[in-house]
């Protein structure tokens, strides 16, 4: 029987001073070794669920366990590797890529001990795994968005976690960079066999790189494979954000397709490809764009 990496049982969380719960009666299981995407609109409770799993917040009712331990214990034992939204790191910091990644592997050591040679080799292997071998000595602030994302993934893996948690991993990365990110995640998953939990409001980020998708908007709306992500499910999930979604063609499956939601009036990041893929805007306040997959570009890391 597969082991549960993360088990959330009937979790409810309400922020102090607010009446409505951010999460209500959410139950979710992430099996060890799988890649689960948590998809939902802004304000749907994705980040709150993530913070419960990380042990930063504690639910008022229900339980959360990570590998059978409390999230705090799992965190203290280094079982969780975390990649925050890249905008939250101090990229002006005068540290090299290697120093940033090594820091995650060495910070638990006593101050008088340096990182053992085997661990240094493992860190170097991670740097190569994420494709930053040539950039290891470069200051972290000199990396492009995609390169920084990879460096932060290597940093998360440097503490030898069993669970890799990514918060909105594709924010601020162009389409080609996102395709490369999906490839990297697949490579990391196949080589390390690590459990992956992705939280995103970007359908593309979760559809491309996950075995299963949980749709969350305060409550858990579905817990399915990417093939189960039908327009009906998405319409229910994004009903507050995406008007007119129900008018979409009733495609039976969106697996393997690039899907992206963005607010009307904002520039669409895929606009330059619209003519290639039948890219169509909905006339309502928020539009949903669906396009066929396209080959990854190699220039995605250009600063």
């Amino acid at each position: 029987m597969p082991t549960a990496a993360v088990e959330v049982k009937q979790a409810t969380f309400t922020y102090p001073g607010l009446d409505a719960p951010a999460l209500e009666d959410v139950s979710l299981t992430v099996v060890e070794g799988e890649r689960l995407g948590i998809l939902g609109p802004n304000g749907g409770g994705k980040s709150t669920l993530l913070k419960l799993v990380l042990g930063v917040l504690h639910c008022q009712s229900g339980t959360v366990s990570v590998f059978g331990l409390s999230p705090l214990q799992a965190r203290q034992q280094g079982l969780i590797g975390y990649v925050a939204q890249r905008s939250e790191a101090e990229i002006g910091f005068p540290l090299s890529v290697r120093q940033v990644i090594t820091l995650a592997a060495s910070w638990r050591l006593p101050p008088w001990k340096s990182l053992p040679a085997a661990e240094r080799d493992r860190v170097e292997g991670l740097i190569r795994l994420v494709g930053l071998g040539q950039l290891a000595t470069r200051p972290i602030g000199a990396l492009s968005g995609g390169q920084l994302q990879r460096a932060l993934i290597a940093r998360a893996l440097a503490c030898s976690p069993r669970l890799l948690v990514l918060d909105e991993p594709t924010v601020g990365i162009d389409a080609a960079g996102q395709a490369q990110f999906a490839e990297l995640l697949a490579s990391v998953h196949s080589k390390l066999g690590i459990t992956v939990l992705i939280v995103s409001h970007d359908l593309r980020a979760v559809a491309a790189g996950c075995d299963r998708v949980a749709c969350l908007s305060r409550r858990l709306h579905s817990h399915t494979s990417p093939q189960g992500l039908t327009p009906q499910v998405l319409a229910e999930l994004f009903s507050h954000d995406i008007a007119g979604l129900a008018a979409l063609p009733a495609a039976s499956s969106l697996a393997g397709m690039h899907i992206h939601a963005h607010a009307a009036g904002e520039p669409c990041p895929e606009h330059d490809h619209a003519h290639d893929h039948g890219h169509a805007h909905q006339p309502a306040a928020v539009s949903l764009n669906i396009s066929a997959p396209r080959p990854p570009r190699t220039s995605g890391d250009a600063p």
């Binding site: 034992q77 890249r86 790191a89 990229i91 002006g92 540290l95 910070w107 948690v165």
Partner: protein
Amino acid sequence: MKLLEYFHSWQELQLLLTPLLAGLLVAILCAALSVLVVLKRLAFVGQGVSHSAFGGIGIAAVASVLAASSGTAVSIGQGSVAEFLIVVAFCIASALGMAAVGARRSGQSGQSVQVDTGIGLFLVAAMAMGGLLVQYANTLARSRGVTEAQRSWESILFGSVTTASWADVYVSLAVLVLTVLVLWYFRRVLLFWTFDETSAPAFGVPVTLARTVLMTLLAIATVTAMKICGVVLATAMLVLPGAIALKLSRRFEVVFALSIISACTGVVGGLWLSIETDAQTGPCIVLLLCVLFALAVLRARLTSPAAASPALPAKANP
């Protein structure tokens, strides 16, 4: 050249040596913390801590008069170790209070005030308290005939490094050794927390400990630097060396070394300028550091237009 007059005898040389040594020790102390202060955007916290020293000085002033009038053997006079410890204790309490406000702001417990508002409140409350207590202490001293306990506002505001004694040198040395040891012991935790405070808790990094350690060191360094630059300008010693160094390099080891070099240059040059021009030493040191910063900005602009960004490192834009 007035500087040469100090070399006529050992006694006269000591008048130069003690301020120089105390100044250099404080420069290294502040420079070691300055890089973290600038990167962590704690300049305003430094300002708040240094100004909250007024409260500690006020308490020390009253205690000094009471001790002198009661004939207690313990001296809490201006510049004494006892006064230093009282002010340090008060500043640490203020710094931790500011850190707690910051922690609540970044947490989810529902903050009632913004961080900068909280720091501003600590700053003005401590200054007001200090002002009233010093006034009360001076009145008390006059009524009890303890005139030597009266405080000079000018030295509190701008410092008086030229009157530094060997005791000041020893105190500065002890604080420097303590600070370097603590920084070395917590270096990895502090670096991780400073680089990415948001992710640090998820990695199990003790962020509360890191914040407490840095704020405590900051409070101690600020009080020590007040001897050189005074309350008003102590923050400059904690900000300018790091800001200068970060303009010149993006390698941590180099930035750290440049921060210490620029702080020492500021102290030596400022002391020399003040001797030659009979000006106050604190403002001379700070103005020289400002000139060094302007030169660093100029060099950054000339060598790399892209590097001529704001003084503080910017966060990544999504």
